[in-house]
Amino acid sequence: MLSTYRYPKYEYVPPPELKGGIVRHPVVIVGAGPVGLAAAIELAQSGVPVVLLDDDDTVSIGSRGVCYAKRALEVLDRIGIGDACVSKGVSWNVGRTFFRDEEVYNFNLLPQPDHKRPGMINLQQYYLEEFGINRARELPNVDLRFMNKVVSVNAEGKFAKIMVETPDGPYTIEADWLIVADGARSSIRRMMNLEIEGKIFMDRFLIADVVMKADFPAERWFWFDPPFHPGQSVLLHRQADNVYRIDFQLGWQADPEEEKKPENVIPRIKAMLGDDREFELEWVSVYTFQCRRMQQFRHGRVLFVGDAAHQVSPFGARGANSGIQDTDNLCWKLKLVLDGKAPDSLLDTYSEERVFAADENILNSTRSTDFITPKSKTSLTFRNAVLALARDHAFARALVNSGRLSVPSFLTGSSLNTPDTAEFTGDMLPGAPMDDAPVREKVANRWLLDYVGNRFVALVYVADPAAVDPAQVAVFKGLAEEPVPVEVILVSPKAGAAPEGLHALEDYAGRFAERYDAKFGTAYLIRPDQHVAGRWRAFDAGRVRAALARATGNA
């Protein structure tokens, strides 16, 4: 059906285990969707060899994920596919909401200037996966196996025993750690008799991908009760290749098979476009949605990530976006555990932190869904009253909920944080996901987030990098020699030669000082996933070490 995209077909290679012998791998990942791929790449980049099993030989079929948020893009940057996604995708920040035939509200996802990445890009999920597969195949320590379907898992003991079916028959492999990224209908979850609880929304949505030439701006447009689709909602997104994605709310009574027929879909689209514009239908499907999660994401040696662990309705674009953050949270912890530098209880904090994030995602997606599809006459009256007031009154605009789009969680309650002992203003408190800032090194303009991540970093704000006392420099460098190294990076309002062996970033726009409430001496300890672990008004190696021990479960 698709005319703009050709699905790649990846080659199945008979795995060596078919010849006999059981090999134990440090990490096996099931599922090469966006989340399993992200996990495989991140672990491989950090030096951990991974086996990645997928039951298929191509990318995600049809129209699924569209919107990838700033935070996910920052993770994709670190796994080497941020540029590919952003240059292929459509970047946007503004969303407009219409009630009947009037615009009542708009939002800007990135009200602050000076961030490397936009609030959101729109990109068909198959591209995201294709870029991920290309990247994974560049890495010699990713063993990516297509047409390898996991059919049973036994993880009672100190490792997981995994049975895999291939076109050439079954084989068994073992893994010290098994990462389960096999999607919303996770068969491994079922094999292990684990529950996932939540609720289904009693509504159906028609999803159509349409190819057309249109000069619609790169914005998200959402209609409540529009004249062309009365009583329901409609959502429009522009994706790559002039493909537009349109979501029509249908109501619970709709017959999915009937609705999918082109003779029923095309008039809906024509009514919406309202002119004789030519378009081609690329894809149509009908979905119902649910919000649910597992109780815990860690079960001994088995770690659940992405849709296998939690599912949300799509109105916040929080599905793949949150799954990619799951693996970003998990991979550095798993690497430390594999290297014997952290106790395996550190992996419980993966579950704690990402369960917290999943609850936030479920809460926000549920609220959006409830606003978009009111469940009772009274809810509908309130909803329409909000929309009626929104045109004129700011307070009502703030209540309009056509989707609270994916943002990272502030892990302020995490046991890995070191609480503040001094006063700070702003939002970069322990547990916060880092704000970006433009910085300059020597003469090159760069971004703060490109300097941190994948390892622990201490950012130290100084008056002049060239004037840092050599004894202090030695202390900074000492931290890089610890079992879990911490790289000190100097940030300064002043350009100046960095002490040998250290990076010095010039905060030339003053955004770092502003966003981090930095004063000379201020130090931040940053986790490998770019969350703040602790901060102080004066650098003290002992405190940094203590915070590091805490952040790695070694305290």
Binding site: A394, F395, N401
Partner: protein
């Protein structure tokens, strides 16, 4: 004080990282108040809610302005 039409929801002691959160907290609680009620029961709850809040506000000029705005366009 004139009728406040700016976003004004907050829970004392609670820190918000996203501007929409306090309003969404309120809206959820409002819808929850009506859960499992018939339309008639909901109308009664709404009437009582208006009366309770009106008494809390007290200031007749604010109430008159709100009543006027609420009626507009209906």
């Amino acid at each position: 004080m004139p009728l406040n039409l700016k976003p004004n929801f907050a829970e004392p002691g609670k820190r918000y990282f996203r501007a929409y959160t306090p309003g969404d907290d309120f809206y959820e609680a409002l819808i929850e108040t009506h859960r499992d009620l018939s339309d008639e029961q909901s109308a009664m709850v709404n009437a009582k809610l208006v009366l309770l809040l009106a008494n809390h506000i007290g200031d007749m000029s604010v109430l008159r302005e709100a009543m006027k705005l609420a009626r507009e366009g209906v």
